[in-house]
Symmetry: C2
Subunit: 80 residues, 2 copies
Amino acid sequence: MKAKIIVNLKEIVLDPQGETILHSLNEMGYDEIKKVRQGKIFFIEIDESDEEKGRKKLEEIAHKVLSNPVIETYTIEIEK
Amino acid sequence: MKAKIIVNLKEIVLDPQGETILHSLNEMGYDEIKKVRQGKIFFIEIDESDEEKGRKKLEEIAHKVLSNPVIETYTIEIEK
């Protein structure tokens, strides 16, 4: 089974990297870009045929290992 | 208009960060995890109502600014 775990900063947390990219783009003439936020994406292969069990494991991993729940949120997308 | 640009390493390029996470997970007992690759995701707001034009701008930005086309590929997802 393949899955994606997307980790992004909570909306209330500042994202200096995204801000820097936004300003660079605006300076380059891309004035139509109004907001940039950067996140992480993990492409994962898991040896588990039961989707429910797989999702549970991925939830654990996302929460414990891949994200910092204080400042980040995550979403899990299972590929069929 | 909102969009996501996902930048990931080409399959032939080594991903030491992903490898490290994979080994850590396996050591922690998550033996069912077989592969981890890490990428970047950018959440973008663009002031452009024409989807075709917006996508063209985002293609330019993804190619010129957000990715290194030698080692990375990107995909653009427009949110309706």
